[in-house]
Amino acid sequence: MNSITIDALNLYYRELNFKIKEAVRKEGIKKVIIKNARGQRFIGTGLKEKDVEIIIESGVPGNDLAMFMDGPTVKVFGNAQDGVGNTMNNGKVFIHGDAGDVICYGMRNGKIFIKGNVGYRVGIHMKEYKDMIPSIVVGGKAGDFFGEYMAGGIGVVLGLNNDDKPIVGRYCATGMHGGVIYIRTEKIPTYLGKEVKIFELNESDKEKLKSLIEEFCQEFKEYKAEDILKSRFIKLIPVSKRPYGRLYSPGNHFPLPEENYFSNKKIDIEKKYY
């Protein structure tokens, strides 16, 4: 067994992260199990090793879990706090509980799967470049400002738990100018960002969603992918690639969105919601 167990009780965050890095880089350990996490920040930060697994077995990891991470897989068997996957470059994160605010801020690639709810500003400023397309799947519900200023990537909210909160909070996709959001709902989120419109999913959307949800259900076994995929989803995409271009440059010298910019059929939604 090429694995190591670290008891994080009373360990300062720098000590813990040093131990993880030593184990992975010097000893070639492939599986790091952490017990009794006590809010140590930056667990998994900057690790580049693709086949490494970091498992947080008990306790609660601190803020900025998997920040700048570039390859490994992190699993948390409990709740996580704020800032998970901050500017993450690659790899996977699975959280078997809730997560806090500002998850996957500025994320560049990789995947984050959260079984429970997430807080506010999740997916803020996610970006993409060529084949680097980050994604986040939230099993529960999301707070306000989901996908705020999103510039790329895929955000999925499934709302599988039964509390009476709305599936996404207010001001979803405000300032969004790239990427796509899929929400398992038939209702229009309140105070939706002015920069996005709602569309129905096309075949390529359905394929993307299917592969993400299958991966989600592989980890969180109480959910069945085919059941989830039966539900109706809405898709949010920005209608302008550069909504603020005109604010900062004089003249009107870049193309405005064309009428047939999106070939998708619009869901018939009453005008008053916009």
């Binding site: 809010g39 306790g59 609660v60 990891p61 706090q81 605010d101 807080g119 707070g143 306000d144 909160k165």
Partner: protein, 301 residues
């Protein structure tokens, strides 16, 4: 809290002039190497005497009388600051790591139904003994994570009612606002939280419940100067329990953890694990959603 002996002499003269001091003693502290220098800490148990010397108490409530004296000491006696002025209530604050401050004040010797603890990393205002949290007035205390962009407006507002901001930190204004709104204006805590952290105008505009809409509109118009803007999550302590509140767009975290009969409020869930073995329930309040933790025998609201 005295910065020098002269402040103590002056304050004691003042106290003897306006109160009957039943007991005066130095607050027990332990000298430890981690705390290199500290001001003087004294506590006084006092009684208000209604006679000519103290002025016409009949026009003031006992609480007003105390508040006026507290404001006077903080403002006019150089080097003297009132850290705590409540009943069955105490505040310990200082410059140092929290564990060292707790050793310094020998907190192991105190017992209470509710505790708030705070570790401040001063960024915008000076770090000094009086600038540490909590900020208190009478039986209200506040610990705060964040900053108040509305400090100027709030400060001017409370100054109109005779309060003075003397601690050089934005948070103290909330203690005075709570005292003003709860004690003097008689508002319930729920309303006070709605004043501090109200819905935005566009949300109010679209409210279907007309009564609720009018309620929030009224609060924002009448108490606009008491609205707290900027990132914050804070815990108010009072003689009936604790109240947690975050700003209306949740720029600071707040989590509620239940364990048996005990409730914890914290910025991070992990910090609760340090002091609690068995977590029954974790709850993440929404932005601006107040969390009320009342003692079982609390009669209010």
């Amino acid at each position: 809290m005295y910065e020098h002996n002269k402040a103590k002499e002056e304050t004691e003269l003042f106290l003897n002039n306006y109160f009957r001091v039943i007991k005066a003693e130095e607050i027990p502290t332990k000298q430890i190497p981690e705390i290199k220098s500290s001001p003087l800490h004294y506590r006084y148990f006092i009684e208000i005497v209604d006679n000519k010397k103290t002025g016409s108490l009949s026009l003031l409530t006992e609480e007003d009388y105390v508040v006026n004296r507290v404001v006077y000491i903080n403002k006019n006696i150089e080097g003297a600051f009132v850290v705590s002025s409540g009943k069955n209530f105490g505040a310990f604050k200082g410059v140092g790591f929290p564990e060292d401050i707790s050793k310094f004040f020998m907190l192991e010797n105190y017992k209470a139904y509710a505790w708030t603890a705070h570790n401040r990393f001063p960024t915008n205002t000076p770090g000094w003994w009086g600038g540490a949290h909590p900020f208190t007035l009478l039986d209200f205390s506040i610990v705060h994570n964040g900053e108040l962009s509305s400090y100027g407006i709030n400060k001017r507002y409370v100054e109109m009612f005779g309060y003075e901001c003397t601690m050089l930190t934005d948070t103290e204004v909330v203690a005075y606002l709570v005292d003003l709104l709860v004690r003097k204006h008689g508002l319930p805590f729920k309303t006070v939280c709605d004043i501090f952290s109200p819905p935005t105008w566009d949300v109010i505009q679209n409210m279907e419940d007309i009564k609720l809409k009018e309620y929030y509109k009224t609060l924002r118009i009448v108490y606009g100067s008491a609205l707290l803007n900027g990132p914050f999550a804070f815990i108010i302590g009072f003689n009936g329990g604790l109240i947690g509140l975050s700003d209306r767009i949740k720029l600071r975290p707040l989590v509620v953890v239940e364990s048996g009969n005990t409730v914890y409020l914290s910025s991070e869930e992990s910090s609760v694990l340090e002091v609690c073995d068995k977590i029954d329930r974790v709850y993440h309040p929404e932005a601006g959603e107040p969390v009320f933790i009342f003692y079982n025998d609390y009669k209010g609201e």
